[in-house]
């Protein structure tokens, strides 16, 4: 059933003399959650930054296999990754638009569709029905996601006023509003309490199953990683040291040595 969604081949990223990622190859499947774990500084976020166009990799290829075609991610830079290739991401330190309302945050994510519908603002200024309808549709979509994370009654509040856990969830559904094929989550469980983090697990399971979106996850919280991942990629010093299922990962000697540690 699951097909390969993302193929990363021989990815290398150098910053001057420092090699952050060294000849990394891995793949992630459709409708699966693939976790990238590893000690701090292993290059996890750098992989994300390459995938989402914030960095241009020194070497290597990244392919996204969509139903319609295979997209070479190297060809797109920054905003086009989200717009054209449909790869969405969240950030380690939450990046919402704090003084804009929750609903507005979700509408900015649908910017490109709305922009076209508003005739690059010309129809919008003229108050044409065509734009109004599209806007209503966009709000309905935002409402759909707010219902899922239980924030509908706070839709008109500023995003910055939400509790931390809700901000995390909002950032994830904001990324989902661009209809991504691949969703990259950078430590979504950081700073969440156990209840919030189990809610997060449910949300991610839902996205994976119902939205047919592949998820790439960077996480240090092992309860999340082991609980919901289908596959795990372990990095250390920019190199892949292991790839396998969570159960296999837990047993791997190399991974225990480099990252998980030994129970006393």
């Amino acid at each position: 059933m699951s097909k390969t969604l993302l193929n990363v081949e021989n990815l290398t990223m150098k910053f001057g003399g420092l090699t952050a990622i060294d000849d990394l190859s891995f793949s992630a499947n459709n409708n699966e959650i693939t976790s990238i774990i590893g000690p701090n500084g292993a290059g996890k976020t750098t992989v994300f930054n390459c995938l989402t166009g914030f960095y241009k990799p020194t070497e290597g290829q990244m392919f996204l296999n969509r139903e319609d075609k295979t997209v070479n991610l190297n060809k797109f830079s920054d905003y086009k990754i989200a717009h054209k290739a449909k790869v969405a991401r969240t950030f380690q330190n939450i990046r919402l638009f704090p003084v804009m309302s929750v609903l507005e945050n979700l509408l900015v994510a649908q910017h490109n569709e709305l922009m076209v519908a508003s005739g690059y603002s010309i129809f919008g200024i003229l108050n044409l029905k065509r734009y109004k309808d599209k806007e209503r549709e966009a709000v309905e979509k935002a409402k759909y996601w707010l219902d899922i994370i239980g924030l509908t009654n706070r839709a008109d509040d500023n995003a910055g006023d939400l509790p931390y856990g809700d901000q995390r969830k909002l950032e994830i559904v904001r990324a989902m509003c661009i209809n991504p094929k691949l969703l990259c989550l950078d430590e979504p469980a950081a700073g969440l309490n156990p209840k919030e983090s189990s809610e997060l697990n449910k949300l991610l399971e839902f996205i994976k199953k119902d939205k047919k979106t592949g998820i790439l996850l960077i996480e240090h919280d092992m309860s999340v990683v082991m609980g919901i991942s289908d596959r795990v990629v372990v990095l250390n010093y920019g190199k892949k040291i292991f790839q396998g299922t969570p159960a296999e990962t837990r047993k791997s000697k190399e991974v225990i040595e480099a990252y998980l540690g030994v129970d006393e």
Binding site: Y79, A88, R95, F97, E104, L107, A109, H111, V139, D156
Partner: protein
């Protein structure tokens, strides 16, 4: 309470002691030379006054800080006012516009007051135009006057060279200004904050210096004279009418008055300003407006959502510049004369001050700040060089009592409540 008073007394006595130590030798002892020797004469009276002034002044400041805890009435009033404006904003705006419409016919309105109002309205329009760039898109532009200048000179040059009417030149002035907006926009796309401010400031100066030095076209520091006055849909405001020609007063069978032209100019700038306002309020609720605000909040997040930052910033620069250009064309036709003198950095600074003090992004705030700043400077016109002190004082007052600007509350561009009620 009594311990507070005791502390204040102690504090002021200590201040007195320090001032005595300072003023005693500096003011109290004066040397003079007589013959071969240098003698000292004491002046104790001014010292006593100075020391007393310091002591009592310190005591009063101390007392005032005590009272502040109980009263703080100024901040109470301002918060009430802004609460009222936020909730009854619509009524306020309608009342304001109605007042502006009947204003020229009120009994106390004379030519001077109307002239000042035209100036205030020009600044309101400029403030609203700059609000798009600074308030919404968060791009601090210290060279906004450049677009004002481009608009004014485009109108002046086109009108004097080709003799086209104001209504044809106005859109052209806007187009030229927009072009310069994009021209400025491209090199500064990567810049933010302080760096952007410095480059835009430089851009403003470049335009002014080009206007001074490009003598063949702009007539240099002498400026351009004889710019056609605006006409009332083809009817000029002329006193002496030649045969077969119509003037505004002959057409409407009115007694000739110079006020006709002034009133016409007043309504012209009022309409231009209201168009700017309507456009801004409208575009703020469109995707591009939301993208501007999102860009101001977090550019990286915008990129991750597929918002094109280049286009978004350029539209902000272009649209903001267009309104600056319109205002410039109006300025040129009002003055009938433009010279680089009118487009110095201080103009940019005043417009930025209006936007910042009004509360970034607030349309009503711009109106209040313009009335306050331009009005106060105008009121102190008789005091000449002290006007700028009044201007500075007004800015300090706003910053002390309303550090985020007069009206700093942002309203969402769309609410789920409205959506659901439809």
């Amino acid at each position: 309470m009594s311990s507070d008073i005791r502390a204040i007394v102690k504090d002021s006595l200590f201040t007195g002691l320090i001032s005595l130590a300072l003023f005693g030798p500096i003011v109290g002892l004066k040397t003079f030379s007589k013959g071969a020797g240098l003698f000292v004469t004491p002046h104790w009276t001014p010292v006593i006054f100075l020391v007393l002034a310091c002591t009592i002044g310190r005591f009063l400041i101390g007392l005032n800080s005590l009272r502040k805890k109980e009263i703080g009435f100024v901040s109470k009033i301002t918060s009430k006012v802004s609460y009222y404006l936020d909730n009854k904003g619509k009524h306020f705006a309608i009342t304001g516009v109605l007042f502006a419409v009947v204003f020229p016919f009120l009994p106390f309105t004379d030519r001077y007051i109307l002239d000042v109002s035209i100036m205030i309205l020009t600044y309101i329009m400029l403030g609203w135009g700059l609000n798009i760039v600074v308030g919404l898109a968060g791009l601090l532009d210290l060279g906004y006057v450049a677009f004002y200048a481009v608009g004014a000179y485009s109108y002046a040059l086109i009108a004097t060279t080709f003799g086209w009417s104001f209504w044809v030149c106005l859109p052209l002035a806007g187009v030229f200004a927009a072009f310069f907006g994009i021209l400025l926009g491209f090199p500064v796309l990567r810049l933010r904050g302080d760096y952007l401010a410095i480059v835009t400031l430089g851009f403003g100066e470049i335009i002014r210096i080009i206007l001074i030095n490009w003598y063949e076209v702009t007539n240099g520091p002498d400026g351009i004279t004889g710019i056609p006055r605006p006409t009332f849909f083809g009817l000029p405001f002329k006193k002496i009418v030649e045969d077969g020609e119509n003037s505004f007063h002959t057409f409407f069978n009115l007694e000739y008055s110079t006020m006709h032209r002034i009133i016409f100019l007043y309504y012209l700038i009022l309409i231009l300003a209201l168009i700017t306002n309507y456009f801004t309020l409208k575009i703020r609720k469109l995707p591009v407006g939301r993208a501007w605000e999102a860009l101001r909040e977090d550019e990286i997040a915008c990129k991750s959502l597929g918002v094109n930052p280049t286009n978004t910033k350029l539209t902000a620069f272009a649209i903001g510049a267009t309104f600056g250009g319109f205002a410039g064309a109006f300025f040129a036709t009002r003055q009938a004369f433009v010279s680089p003198e009118s487009f110095t950095f201080i103009e940019s600074a005043i417009i930025v001050a209006i936007v910042v003090l009004g509360g970034m992004g607030s349309q009503t705030g711009v109106v209040l700040a313009s009335i306050f700043l331009i009005g106060i400077t105008e009121m102190f016109r008789d005091l000449e060089q002290y006007r700028m002190i009044a201007f500075g004082g007004a800015m300090v007052l706003i910053m002390v009592f309303k550090p985020k600007g007069i009206l700093a509350n942002r309203k969402p561009t769309i609410t789920l409540r409205e959506h659901n009620s439809k």
